[in-house]
Symmetry: C2
């Protein structure tokens, strides 16, 4: 194909599919919940991440061996990729909000990166120099193709926002070198960490260079044949256990599996391979049904940052890496565009409000790597200037030895506006609700524009006002979230029930309003009985937001391990929280914990819950999402 409009400002830009994505300039968040989270990134996280990358030497790595550069590579073998993700985030951010100073910063970073590129196109600061391991000597753990992938994605973002430039040239050099090294007649290896696959397809979409798509297809086909060396974690860790077409569920390292799935969708869409698309849909659908937390978080094993077996979803050992959330949004968005199925937009909303919104501190300068759903021992205050070595059990940390998550969440939030809406064959679909403006062209070229006004998710009323249209008929489709039983749409005083999606088809006039009402009253949610970790518990959700009980040290509720709630009394709105009836059970101390006598039901009172995304913002605290219910008295039975 010819290259798509390279400057469309779209995070992903497939050439076919049920829906057409909009660009940054076409869909803009103007105020409210997500505007606040975007400001946290633009005013805090980008500078914070840059400062840390300078401090820990990841930017200076690009000058290794130069006159003023360091003698040795610092950081982990994938440190380059963090710089690339930061460039990508800054690129989307400057597309959202022009900022000449930030643009100059990007240019300087691009020049820095370009200075490390070899004459044959190869670019990685950890390999190939004197004293370093040779290029491609460790495909399993070396992350060279992974880093190359993130470089390509940064170049794609920068090009879609600012047009072709030096970063695109650098990326093409890297991609050409990859195609030469790993092409039909080259090495038959795959990278231990997928990422090059979607990146090559996206670069193909920007440049029209077919060999990049072919190379991505090659990599997808090679995966799953156990060509990587055996390892304690098993081939599943690398998604190298089963060929992509034969697998039935995502498994192994969550981010690896999700990035690979993104690349598989991209290859399937661009090559028209519906069987391949069907395979990855089946895998993801089963993953959503059996290996996903209530928050949309993925990955329940700390050891290998991995999916576990079906229904192994322990709250207190939830890994649910921020990067897995970003990757799951990327995958869901691709599947939404390819299929038009609204449930993928539901998934995106769930992940956004309950993992992405939870990840970053309000000043943008600290973040969660993993997202537990049950903090049993109080989080502890962390110093501002210390890199953390471990990923769990703490509060948001300023930096980790592996700090992929902050730039990853940043690149998603900076481009979040584009996830609000999409075009379809005839009209426009609104997928996420926020104060926003949309100004785009329909498939037939007619310009339409509208404003969205809402206090969502605090409130479930959404007003969409048409601000530009040509007077002809077109359909406006609204997503009704799966939880919104009893939703209604009102147009011209006529109210209709709405479920899944509702389409208003008419000759809109400027000033016309469509009112969507989503009932966001708090509700109890019960889990599948196969999830052992939360049997006998309920969760509280309100609209798209998962709630939790938090016991901060300065206003403690008590030992949350003993919390019990009465499922018979409905949860109720209470200011910015939700109240449930509950209390703390009694339990014996330091007794053998089995053959336990039935305890008395605790005296009940109101327990105030808060949105999960607001937890750990009030100092050291314990927390839990799933709330054990008051049990009927246990019966004891023995034979004898």
């Amino acid at each position: 194909m010819a290259a798509s409009d390279p400057t469309g400002g779209r995070p992903v830009d497939p050439s076919r599919g049920a829906l057409r994505p909009l660009g940054l300039a076409e869909a803009r968040i103007t105020a409210g919940f997500w505007a606040d989270r975007q400001r946290v990134i633009s005013e805090g996280s980008l500078d914070h991440a840059r400062a840390w990358m300078d401090k820990v030497g990841w930017t200076a790595n690009f000058t290794i061996g130069g006159a003023t550069g360091p003698a040795e590579h610092r950081g982990r073998e994938f440190a380059d990729s963090e710089v690339y993700k930061l460039i990508e985030a800054m690129s989307w951010e400057t597309g959202r909000t022009p900022d000449p100073a930030r643009k100059r910063e990007i240019d300087e970073l691009v020049a820095l990166v370009g200075g490390a590129q070899e004459s044959d196109g190869y670019l990685n600061t950890a390999y190939g120099r004197p004293g370093q391991a040779p290029r491609w000597s460790d495909l399993q753990w070396g992350h060279e193709l992974y880093c190359a992938g993130h470089l390509l994605q940064a170049a794609v973002a920068h090009t879609r926002v600012h047009g072709p430039g030096p970063l695109l040239d650098i990326a093409r050099g890297v991609a050409d070198h990859v195609c030469e090294t790993f092409g039909e007649t080259g090495s038959t290896g795959v990278c231990g960490h997928p990422e090059i696959e979607p990146a090559l397809v996206e670069l193909y979409r920007v440049t029209g260079e077919r060999k990049y798509l072919d190379q991505a297809k090659l990599f997808v086909g090679r995966r799953g044949h156990q060509t990587l060396p055996a390892h304690q974690f098993g081939w599943s860790y690398f998604s190298d256990d089963i060929p992509v077409r034969d697998a039935t569920v995502l498994r192994g390292h969550a981010v690896r599996a999700l990035y690979l799935a993104c690349g598989v969708v991209d290859v399937a869409v661009e090559t028209g391979d519906d069987a391949l698309l069907g395979a990855v849909r089946e895998q993801f659908d089963r993953t959503l049904a059996r290996r996903t937390y209530l928050t949309g978080g993925m990955g329940s094993r700390h050891m290998d940052e991995a999916f576990s077996d079906d229904f192994v979803l322990p709250s207190d050992r939830a890994y649910s890496e921020s990067c897995a959330a970003v990757a799951a949004v990327m995958l869901s968005w691709r599947l939404l565009l390819a299929t038009g199925e609204v449930r993928y937009a539901d998934v995106i909303e769930r992940i956004l409000y309950n993992v992405v919104a939870t990840a970053i501190e309000d000043d943008g300068r600290a973040f969660f790597y993993a997202h537990t759903l049950h903090q049993r021992t109080p989080t502890r205050a962390l110093p501002d200037d210390e890199e953390q070595l471990g990923f769990g059990g703490g509060p948001r940390a300023p930096w980790f030895e592996v700090s992929c998550c902050l730039p990853n969440v940043s690149r998603l939030l900076a481009s979040l506006g584009t996830y609000l809406a999409a075009g379809d064959d005839e009209g426009l679909r609104i997928m996420q609700y926020a104060d926003a403006t949309v100004d785009t062209r329909l498939a037939d070229g007619r310009r339409v524009a509208l404003e969205v006004a809402t206090a969502y998710p605090a409130d479930g009323d959404v007003t969409i006002r048409i601000t530009a249209t040509d007077g002809g008929e077109w359909p406006l489709t609204l997503r009704v979230p799966e939880w919104a039983h009893g939703a209604t749409v009102t147009v011209d005083g006529v109210t209709e029930q709405a479920e899944s999606t509702i389409t208003v088809r008419r000759a809109f006039a400027v000033g016309d309003e469509v009112h969507l009402h989503l009932p966001v009253a708090p509700r109890f949610t019960t889990p599948d009985p196969r999830i052992d970790a939360v049997r006998g518990c309920v969760a509280v959700e309100r609209g798209p937001v998962v709630y939790c009980a938090e016991s901060p040290e300065r206003e403690p509720i008590g030992d949350l391990d003993l919390l019990r709630v009465d499922q018979g009394r409905a949860p109720a709105d209470a200011g910015d929280g939700v109240d449930v009836w509950g209390g703390l059970a009694t339990a014996a101390d330091n007794a053998w914990p089995y053959d336990h006598p039935a305890g008395d039901d605790p005296p009940l009172g109101l327990i105030r819950l808060l949105p999960y995304h607001r937890w750990a913002r009030r100092g050291p605290a314990t927390m839990r999402v799933w709330l054990p219910t008051v049990q009927s008295p246990r019966r004891r039975s023995t034979d004898g």
Copy 2:
């Protein structure tokens, strides 16, 4: 003190305490459950382990650099210790059952080991040679003191069975070198893996050499001051986070924590430091109450083979390493001897029947490293000749890259007879029940002997017949397990209720019989409500044995994730199993697994359970210990 009788054949030999241990020759298992498990070791595991250690090069490591030796060290940095544990196991075994061929094998192994000792006493095959890291250059991960500790333990065992010899000389050389290197004026470091601490005290007990005890005391005092380098796992992994006297619970790597605690008890006992003994008791008691599986297994995190927070005891991610079970028996035995408190014998029994008995295949040639309590995906057949890299999810494996567990369980089983009974101030206490003979002297020097006859644990009747006594009065004390409500003791036709312990004090005559009746009818056990992982479940126990539901592929029950049992109908004996009423619930496939509608109760029928220690002996299978109960219908409640 003067050295204790060096040839007493006791696995641990404290100079003071509430109870006096017996030696291998004094307490012998003659038939039954444990005799069978001992035979598995003597006829299978010892040769199997030796063959694998030869195959993977661990024995040949001791000839590195020699004329016919290998050029490079093979295996992990602690491979020496496995050879030492095997020598220890063989030593106990030859004490239990004289075997000249095995004795020659030990002598050859000792000669092999001795050949690698340096002139200054240092002995480790992985350090200090050309091309190897320098001695003591990596205390955190190098395991040099750990290996030295296991060498000392092997020498202690060999000496207690066969008297002083070359292995004791080698060990003294190593210990002297350790004392010189790490003494008051030497290095102030500690080993990343405790083990040297109890080993030095035991060597002191054998030799009377006070400096070994002093050195152990030094090591114990140095632990917990965060002198090891920072690591992702935290200082707690090494028990180096909190000084031994200040800690309140065991934490971090389970085997590390338990070995250290053994050494702490040994130091406390030999130095008369009751405060130190109290500290470790408090830690272990809290560990038993909050961090121990129903089986007695310890360690619930795969990532760092570690204890988790209180009450984090997921069945499907149970780590419960075989070595942790051995270490917990060692610690419980030390505390039982020190305090006389019968509950530590209860702990030993629980661990023996439910972890130790589970660990080894019936031919002795495969073993579990970790002990899951819930196998969700079927175990798979493993080839006989492949070393496994990972530790979970499989059946018993012939060998692991890290194969500490087989020799560790072997050394415990070979010496198991000595755990049956102990002497007290006046008489004799029977702690574990098996077909056995005891022939020993009371504290006052009088000889007593008895025979124990029982089909325990299949049956709860135990007959103890006096076979030697001088006609004078002495007390015979029997342990009544904590689960044995309604136990009775009958002597001369008079029956008494018995709880915790019961003492029969009389002038026994040869031929007198004491009958103990322990009710072993199957019972439901309910967990502490703070253990989220098993809320709403029951377990089935019968006597000391934990039962499980197993679904082997060749006789499947069905999807055990859906199993529900009726807690209102008592479990019942059924041949070699136990029957409960239960069935498989229905569940939606591939639906979002939260906001789950109440399912119908399944139709119930009899489900046959088997002893947990018998699982995974019928080919590929799924399995679960904790059984969800049939729930009353869920209520749904929302506001709005």
